[in-house]
Amino acid sequence: MIECKNLTKVYENGDVDTTALKAVSFHIEKGEFVAIIGPSGSGKSTLMHILGALEVPTSGTYFLDGKEVSQLNDDELSSLRQQKIGFVFQAFNLLPRTTVLRNVMLPLLYTDTTKSEREERAKQCLKYAGLEESKYYNLSNQLSGGQIQRVAIARALINNPAIILADEPTGNLDTKTSHIVMQAFQELHRKGHTIILITHEPEIADFAERIISLRDGMIESDKKK
């Protein structure tokens, strides 16, 4: 399903070039549950953005479902993001001054769904991500860090994507809540979704079946349980 060959990403900032990824190659099958670990600055987020079709690699190829992503045009990329991928950003990225529900429903805009269907799905996903019902109509700037994180997770689930990409989805959660979230991911995994998540905590990585470890933009190890 996901096939990467020699992915390299170089950030050019004036005179300084930062190589965030160096010739990374791997293969992820449909339905796998993968954790990506590694020290800060090792290129985890960069890799995830490329997998989410949000960033283009400097060189190398990325095939998703047999299609080379760099060959797709803007509209095809939009459809890909909307239909196949649910993305949880490390920086969450909610719409400011907008209610929780509207944030979660954002990916369903301009799709063939009615308002009540959208709200219904949004509420389901929020429940799944473990957010209290009393917060559904709060504005995004009236939430705690952990609540924002759960809204971001709910938004990633709303279009029922085949692939869920989550960049440190439990970074702001206490142990109990992060376990609730991880169990939700496990359940999605059992239902056949492909899940890739980044984490710092070995305990969270243990929920996954495969652990890819990055260091200095290169794969250090790739272990299946």
């Binding site: 953005h49 989410g52 949000l54 960033e55 283009v56 803007d74 509209d75 939009s78 459809s79 890909l80 993001r81 909307q82 239909q83 991928i85 993305f87 950003f89 990225n93 719409l95 400011p96 001054r97 907008t98 509207r102 954002l106 990916p107 805009l109 301009y110 063939d112 938004r155 279009n159």
Partner: protein, 405 residues
């Protein structure tokens, strides 16, 4: 579905960012309203001056006493007393192509009626004044030849003078007013002509010429002679003939030393409209500056929100919303703001011009062209600066837009 979503997103986005929307609208409102008000004042002044000049008569030539330049000292135009009733009579009998001639003695006096008083223009004249100055009688009669011959103490009121002395719409015929300790009996009221400002025909009272000379001015000179040419094409030649005739009559051979001056209506209109034209240009430039300031305000508002909006666009793209829908939403936001601001601005400008004409007594004309111009400029600025950054952001890769600072 898509159209409804776009409209709803527009609405939500505008109402979630009230300050941003409010300030943008304010910029547009100020720009448009000030342009409309300023231009309407200028155009109103222009048309009211033109129409009040038209209303003073038709094919009119006015002879005024000139400056006396005896020994190289000019005492100022109109200062000399050189014109007499005899001059007027002679012009009438000697020169062809003249419909009517009306000499007049005009001066402001304080006058009283039962318990009220006012200060207004008293015009001593002859019956032909009606023809020459396009004045009509509303009720009663105007001055007759016989009353001029016998210096009768009768007076015809202009409607504004009547309103001031006796109250709006009353019929004062038969009552008397006192001017300079002389009682004049009211025999008529003239029809309102409109017009405003200096020598308003509605705010004057008319007495027989000889009565004005005997009881008020105390001499035999006249302050001007109004001549109506019988045809608008002959005004210039009649004016020349009158000039030659009066020079001969006053024994003046050097054109530098003439003791009268002649002016016809076309000259007055040309002078006045060049003045009001300058005035309109002045107001329009003030308005243009306010439009510029308003436009820069709109632009600023749009540009200061670019960072936030670029990230928002990055986020929308990253969840898979197509570029075209994002652009439609942003365009629709910009259009909604400019239209809302534009309509408010037009209404406000219109109300402001009404207030100006009501409380400042200036007539105003809201010109469609100024509305279009003001609307066009603010809409253009709003849409270009609302839409252009959005289009740029929508063409970025989502992560680049999300990282934008």
């Amino acid at each position: 579905m898509i159209a409804i979503d776009i409209l709803q997103e527009t609405f939500w986005s505008l109402s979630a960012n009230k300050v941003r929307s409010g300030l943008t609208i304010l910029g547009i409102v100020i720009g448009i309203a000030s342009v409309i008000t300023m231009v309407s004042i200028g155009q109103g002044a222009q048309s009211s001056i033109a129409s009040s000049i038209q209303s003073i008569g038709s094919n009119l030539i006015i002879v005024s006493p000139g400056a006396q330049r005896g020994n190289n000292v000019s005492a100022g135009r109109g200062s000399s007393q050189t014109l007499t009733v005899a001059d007027a009579d002679a012009i009438k009998t000697e020169i062809q192509g003249i419909k009517a001639v009306a000499p007049e003695v005009s001066r402001r006096y304080q006058m009283t009626a039962k318990g009220t008083n006012t200060n207004t223009q008293v015009v001593g004249t002859v019956p032909d004044y009606l023809t020459v100055r396009n004045v009509a009688v509303d009720s009663g009669t105007f001055i007759t030849d016989n009353q001029v011959k016998t210096s009768s103490k009768v007076v015809v009121l202009g409607p504004t003078a009547r309103d001031d002395l006796f109250g709006v719409g009353t019929n004062p015929i038969g009552q008397t007013i006192r001017i300079k300790n002389v009682d004049f009996e009211i025999i008529g009221v003239t029809l309102a002509k409109g017009g405003s400002g200096f020598s308003n025909p509605d705010d004057s009272v008319y007495v027989p010429l000889t009565s004005a000379q005997h009881f008020l001015s105390g001499d035999t000179f006249v302050s001007s002679i109004s001549i109506a040419a019988s045809d608008s094409n002959t005004i210039a030649s009649v004016q020349q003939e009158v000039s030659d005739f009066l020079m001969k009559r006053h024994n003046i051979f050097d054109p530098q030393l003439v003791d009268f001056s002649l002016m016809n209506q076309a000259d007055i209109i040309a002078t006045a409209s060049s003045v009001t034209g300058t005035f309109t240009i002045l107001l329009a430039s003030i308005a243009g500056i306010s439009l510029l300031v308003g436009g820069i305000g709109i632009m600023n508002m749009m540009l200061t929100t670019v960072t936030e909006r670029t990230r928002e666009i990055g986020l929308r793209k990253s969840v898979g919303i197509r570029k075209e829908y994002i652009l439609w939403q942003f365009l629709s936001e910009a259009v909604a703001l400019t239209f809302f601001g534009g309509i408010t601005g037009v209404l406000l400008g219109w109300i402001a011009s009404l207030l100006v004409s009501r409380f400042a007594g200036l007539s105003t004309v809201v010109a469609p062209s100024s509305v279009m111009l003001a609307f066009g400029v603010s809409a253009g600025v709003g849409i270009i600066f609302g839409f252009y950054p959005a289009r740029r952001a929508a063409n970025l890769i989502p992560m680049e837009a999300l990282r934008y600072e």
